[in-house]
């Protein structure tokens, strides 16, 4: 299986690559539109700031490529937020795959949310074998509210989308590559999704 890990300078891409290796897969780090389009699975990680990440995607022409992908795609963390339509962070127009906006957590909460939070309301093949109440590792300052495409919820002062899914597009706000056995199960599930 060809797995492309989108490497546009805004993600801890090696961690994702190592996580795949621990599961017996290998992922290729690439920003090449052709390689990404031809891959069987695409992982779209991201950490950092939304507007500069979008600028990097545009520089590689990937803002056009990613929304057109037909194979299973998994966005991680900032990747999830960029797959929405808009982020308050840097007043950024995003990829528009999900009709969802990333907004800042309210002022009274510690931001970023850093640490392990529970997953609930799981409803996607992404969570096969994962039970409500299991913990995943989150690090983020912006969140996507619960919406029609939410397939896992979590709560930090308010409920938010821990994962989204729509057609071939999947996204986790948490870091499956850093979420212990729970995260490994999510990654394994994603890799086993048939087209």
């Amino acid at each position: 299986m060809n797995i492309a890990i989108i490497d546009y300078g805004a993600g801890n891409v090696r961690s994702v690559q190592f996580a795949l290796e621990r599961l017996g897969y290998s992922g290729k780090l690439t920003a090449d539109a052709g390689e990404i389009s031809w891959a069987d699975k695409v992982i779209f990680p991201g950490v950092g700031e939304a507007s500069s990440a979008m600028a990097a995607l545009r520089q590689y022409g990937l803002d056009e490529v990613i929304p057109q992908l037909k194979q299973p795609v998994l966005g991680i963390c900032l990747g999830l937020q960029l797959m929405g339509s808009y982020s308050e962070e840097g007043d950024t127009e995003c990829l528009g795959i999900f009709p969802a906006k990333a907004v800042a957590f309210p002022e009274n909460l510690k931001v970023p949310q850093v640490g392990w939070n529970t997953l609930a309301a799981l409803k996607s093949p992404l969570f096969r074998g994962v039970h409500a109440g299991e913990y995943a590792y989150f690090v983020h300052s912006y969140y996507v509210a619960v919406n029609d495409f939410t397939v896992a919820q979590s709560e930090y002062g308010l409920p938010f989308s821990a994962a989204l899914a729509k057609d071939n597009f999947f996204a986790c706000q948490f870091h499956p590559e850093k979420s212990g056995k729970t995260g490994e199960q999510v990654l394994r599930n994603f890799l086993e999704i048939q087209k």
């Binding site: 700031e49 850093v114 939070n117 590792y137 300052s141």
Partner: protein, 251 residues
């Protein structure tokens, strides 16, 4: 609900783990990758690796160690020690570290925090502060606690937050290595006044000490080294004790 975090810290010297008492008398406690994996299996929420004698010529060793750790371990980890340049951070993150902690270099050039936050995002910048209680004030120390500065803990922590640090790791030098319990007062002030998470460090000796720092100081995470290294506290037992005491933990 967001869980309180337990973070074993591994002090690294020449690629091996060491831990000192009050920053001196180092003892060897094993292979960092192996130890990291054991902690992860026992239920550690994160790991911190501090290179205590990091210099630029040793940087390559640290980067390759970080890569080994990232290959093996499926929980987040922070790397620190002698980090003073944007380029250092880039290499460490690239090798697979999730966060870096900066300490002395930020004290002498606070702009470093802003530069790193702008470049890599505040979520991966941990501002480590070593402070000692001197003449009625919490004074910031650098160089592994050897050099006193004119900075005061609370003001410096707040400046770090304003400049874009994502977390504060506060080591109370009054407690470090004593096993008398975490500093509660200063941690409580930090946790109450900052908008970023606070990690308490220094003084862990018993299970009870961890409960105290979560319940009384309301910090977000607690870090310890020797009690874990020498098996005096098993992370599993600690998590169960914390849960019994009504603290949200990942088990």
């Amino acid at each position: 609900m967001l869980a309180k975090r337990i973070i074993p810290c591994l002090d690294i010297k020449n690629g091996r783990t060491v831990k000192g008492t009050n920053f001196i008398n180092l003892r060897d406690a094993g292979d960092p990758v192996e130890l990291g994996r054991i902690y992860s299996e026992q239920g550690a929420d994160e790991l911190v690796f501090l290179d205590i004698i990091a210099t630029s010529d040793k940087r390559k060793t640290l980067v390759s160690l970080v890569e080994k750790i990232a290959r093996e371990i499926n929980i987040p980890f922070t790397v620190g020690g002698g980090i003073s340049r944007v380029e250092d951070v880039k290499e460490l993150l690239r090798a697979g570290a999730d966060k870096v902690s900066i300490n002395s270099a930020a004290v002498y050039r606070p702009e470093l925090i802003s530069e790193l936050a702008a470049r890599f995002g505040n979520q991966c910048i941990v501002l480590a502060i070593d402070a000692n209680f001197v003449n009625g004030k919490w004074k910031v120390f650098t160089h592994g606690g050897r050099r006193e500065t004119d900075k005061e803990l609370f003001a410096w922590a707040r400046e770090g937050q304003e400049r874009g640090a994502g977390e504060i790791l506060f080591t109370a030098m009054t407690r470090d290595g004593t096993k008398d319990g975490f500093e509660l007062g200063a941690n409580k002030i930090l946790a109450q006044t900052l908008r970023i998470p606070v990690i308490a460090s220094g003084g862990a000796g018993t299970l009870h000490h961890f409960s105290d720092v979560f319940l009384q100081a309301d910090v977000d995470a607690a870090l310890a080294a020797s009690v874990f290294h020498y098996g005096e506290i098993k992370i599993k037992d600690l998590k169960h004790k914390l849960k019994e005491d009504g603290i949200e933990v990942r088990i």
